[in-house]
């Protein structure tokens, strides 16, 4: 058995190619600790699902090792890996009742009949579905099917549960509700979860750590707060949450703060995150909620002229689209306090942010 601080799941230099010409997963290295809730987040085609399938055993790695509990599992067939899995469309067996579905993994393990009965009942109780034990999956709503699928993946006490976009087919409200439910189950059972999704808010809500995938590579692996607050490249900044991006050229770097000349000619200062040398091109990223319209220029602040293009009233805040430094898609979230109610379209004012809140990242022309 692996040591407590050893990783529970480990990808070591894993590559995957389907056609022998292009790599879907390029040199993946990832350690997952026991009990962790790790989310693989990324757009479709980024390689996240392939990674999950390799872990489940339905795809084989073209190169590299995958280890589970310290043992390489490349040559172990899926049914011997003991990994629970929740599928995108639940994959509940349509010809079996809910009870039979849940008993299936126990029966294949030759568990005694009475034990099976107990297990099935207790797990159904946990997901509050005991009343539905004799129904067929087709007689259940989407959310109910989802709970059964979850229960089935957990009923045989796996150490690791994989979830492949399990909430994708649910409506928004139900999805959010299920997010909390899954999170609570994870916390209560202490099981390790690897979760795949393309929905960033889902990832932020549930995960201990998030691996952001793009183009077959992990762009950043971090906890939700770090990921949001300190994106390490412009893809992550763009993909996680909202941000305003400005293009420019680094003029100087001193004590971690870079001075950037924007393409519009304005000079701003930003935290040097992903820029190395003077003269290199950079993408500046600043979150809309970190911008302010009631500012005074200071050493710690960058301030630019702005013109209000559009106002959207959202209750707790006002979403304000402005033209800043030649870009008319600049968003500022203005808190809904009484002093701000004089905003009107066409008004010219000044917008600013703390230099530390603006991050100078790799150059990446915004879409």
């Amino acid at each position: 058995m692996a040591q407590a601080n050893d990783p529970f799941v480990s990808f070591k230099g894993v590559q995957k190619s389907y056609d022998g010409e292009t790599l879907v997963v390029k040199n993946l290295n990832l350690d997952i600790a026991a009990g962790e809730f790790l989310t693989m987040l990324g757009p479709s085609g980024s390689g996240k699902t392939t990674c999950l399938m390799m872990l489940a055993g339905f795809e084989t790695a073209t190169h590299g090792d995958i280890e589970l509990g310290g043992r390489p599992i490349n040559n172990i067939p899926p049914h011997k890996r003991g990994i629970g899995m929740v599928f995108q469309n639940y994959a509940l067996f349509p010809h079996m009742t809910v009870g039979e579905n849940l008993a299936f993994p126990l029966n294949v393990r030759n568990m005694a009949k009475a034990d099976v009965e107990d297990k099935v009942r207790s797990i159904l109780d946990m997901v509050q579905m005991l009343a539905f034990i004799d129904r067929k999956p087709a007689q259940l709503s989407g959310g109910q099917q989802q709970r059964i699928a979850l229960a089935r993946a957990l009923v045989f006490n796996p150490d690791l549960v994989l979830m492949d976009e399990p909430l994708g087919a649910l409506d928004k409200q139900l999805r959010e509700h299920m997010q909390y439910e899954i999170k609570h189950i994870h916390e209560n059972l202490g099981v390790t979860v690897v979760y795949v999704t393309h929905d960033q808010s889902e990832a932020l809500t549930m995960s201990n750590r998030i691996a952001v995938f793009d183009d077959g590579v992990i762009q950043q692996l971090a906890d939700p707060v770090t990921l949001y607050e300190k994106p390490e490249n412009s893809f992550v900044a763009q993909f996680i949450g909202e941000n305003n991006q400005m293009l420019g050229t680094v003029q100087s770097i001193s004590s971690g703060i870079s001075t950037v000349k924007l393409d519009s000619g304005h000079i701003v200062r930003a935290l040097a995150v992903n820029v190395s040398e003077v003269g290199s091109r950079t993408t500046l990223s600043v979150r809309p909620e970190r911008c302010s319209i009631s500012v005074r220029k200071s050493k710690e602040m960058s301030v630019l002229d702005a013109r209000i293009e559009e106002l959207i009233y959202l209750g707790d805040h006002i979403r304000c689209r402005m033209k800043v430094a030649g870009d008319d898609q600049f968003i500022v979230k203005v808190p809904n306090t009484s002093g701000q109610l004089g905003l009107e379209i066409g008004a010219v004012l000044q917008v600013g942010w703390q230099n530390n809140d603006c991050r100078a990242l790799d150059f990446n022309k915004p879409i």
Partner: protein, 420 residues
């Protein structure tokens, strides 16, 4: 519901005061008329070309008026005759009167054929006597028996009495290797003429074997078709469909060339020394050949429904089963196969029903075992023109199929069947 407790005291009316129900019926009337008028031609076509002929034919199995229609006098006399006492002069006189008319009207053949069905060998008795009927003089009993002494046999008269009854169970009795007689009711057919029950049984057995073999061979093929990559599966599909585009006779003949004792398979076996030249296998002109050829011909009818069902089963079920700890075999048996049952049912029923009606192939390659019930139906439809017996045989076959259909419905459920 919030408003359900308010009981409507009077019918709800539309804005102009007419009751809502009436208004709705008016509004729907036009669309109903349109829908009905779209269906009527097809409905009429199916009724005229399919349903009515089937019922009319079934009706023939119990109703035959050939005799009574052309022998009005005789039929009247036969009705009052008890079938036990010696036929009297009145019967003979009626016979002669009818024979004279029948000869003139050229209906004697129909009468003779009908009686011959119940009492073989009497056809010529009627036709030859009819030729001389005009010249016969009373007392007719004497003169008729003088023409042919067979007329003295009471069995001939009993057969006539039987055939004079339009509504008769006689054909169904014959179709089940029995005989319906005037004096004894239902009796067993002579042993050396008992053939139909044997043929029914053989037909069902061959059809069941063919269905079983089709399932056994078709299932893996359909699975491959449904799971292989598109390019490979398209090629495979063409190979499955190819026999469809070849004439039935050509395929049957091809099997003869392959399976006969001087055929491809036996030649190969002899060449490789597996069998001796003088002990070649009999693979055709027997039951084996029938089953092989029919299985090949009917295989696509099994594969296609299976394929269409398998195509709709997403691979995630098998993956889910394996992730839950089932071995590939167990996952296949417990999770995949139950979901293909609608296809198995549809394909099985299709193959079985088609096999029951097949007769060209068994006739050509079946040898002495190759006679099936459909051959007899065709014989009675086309050669003996005993359509009533053909109808009775067909009726029994139809009931058998319906019975199976019903059993299938009870066991699997008919709405659980997918034809593609």
């Amino acid at each position: 519901m919030a408003d359900s407790h308010i009981a409507p005291l009077e019918p709800i009316t539309a804005a102009d005061g007419t009751p809502l129900k009436k208004k709705l019926a008016q509004a729907l009337f036009r669309s109903k008329v349109r829908a009905v008028s779209l269906v009527v031609p097809l409905f009429a076509f199916v009724m005229v070309s399919f349903v009515i002929p089937i019922f009319a034919l079934m009706w023939q199995g119990v109703y035959n008026e050939r005799f009574s229609k052309y022998t009005p006098n005789l039929t009247e006399q036969l009705t009052s005759w008890d079938g036990l006492t010696e036929p009297d002069e009145a019967l003979f006189a009626a016979l002669v009167a009818d024979l004279v008319v029948a000869k003139k009207e050229r209906t004697i053949g129909r009468i003779a054929t009908r009686v011959n069905q119940e009492y073989p060998g009497t056809r010529s008795l009627f036709t030859s006597t009819a030729r001389k009927a005009k010249k016969l003089t009373p007392p007719f009993k004497e003169s008729v028996i003088k023409v042919n002494k067979k007329w003295a046999k009471i069995e001939v008269w009993r057969a006539m009495k039987l055939t004079s009854q339009n509504l008769t169970p006689a054909f169904y009795a014959t179709a089940l290797d029995g005989r319906y007689t005037v004096d004894q009711g239902f009796v067993q057919q002579n042993e050396n003429r008992q053939i139909y029950v044997t043929l029914f049984w053989r037909t069902f057995m061959i059809s069941a074997s063919v269905m079983g073999l089709c399932l056994l061979l078709g299932y893996p093929v359909a699975y491959l078709l449904a799971t292989l990559p598109l390019r490979t599966s398209n090629l495979l599909m063409i190979m499955v469909l190819l026999p469809f585009w070849t004439s039935l006779l050509v395929r049957t003949t091809a099997w003869i060339a392959i399976l006969q004792s001087q055929g491809v398979i036996n030649d190969l076996l002899v060449t490789f020394g597996i069998t001796a030249d003088d002990s070649r296998f009999s693979l055709i002109y027997n039951m084996t050949g029938t089953i092989i050829a029919m299985t090949h011909i009917l295989l696509p009818f099994m594969i296609l429904p299976l394929y269409s069902v398998m195509k709709t089963i997403p691979p995630s079920y098998m993956r889910a089963a394996r992730s839950l700890g089932a071995t590939p075999t167990r996952a296949f048996i417990k999770v995949y196969m139950p979901q293909t049952i609608p296809g198995v049912g549809a394909g099985g029923l299709l193959v079985f029903i088609l096999a029951i009606g097949y007769y060209i192939t068994p006739a050509l390659v079946g040898g002495q075992d190759g006679q099936l019930i459909s051959n007899m139906i065709a014989y009675h439809m086309q050669k003996s023109l005993n359509w009533s017996l053909a109808a009775a045989l067909g009726g029994i076959l139809l009931s058998g199929v319906l019975l199976l259909y019903w059993a299938y419905d009870r066991v699997v459920g008919i709405d659980n069947m997918k034809l593609g």
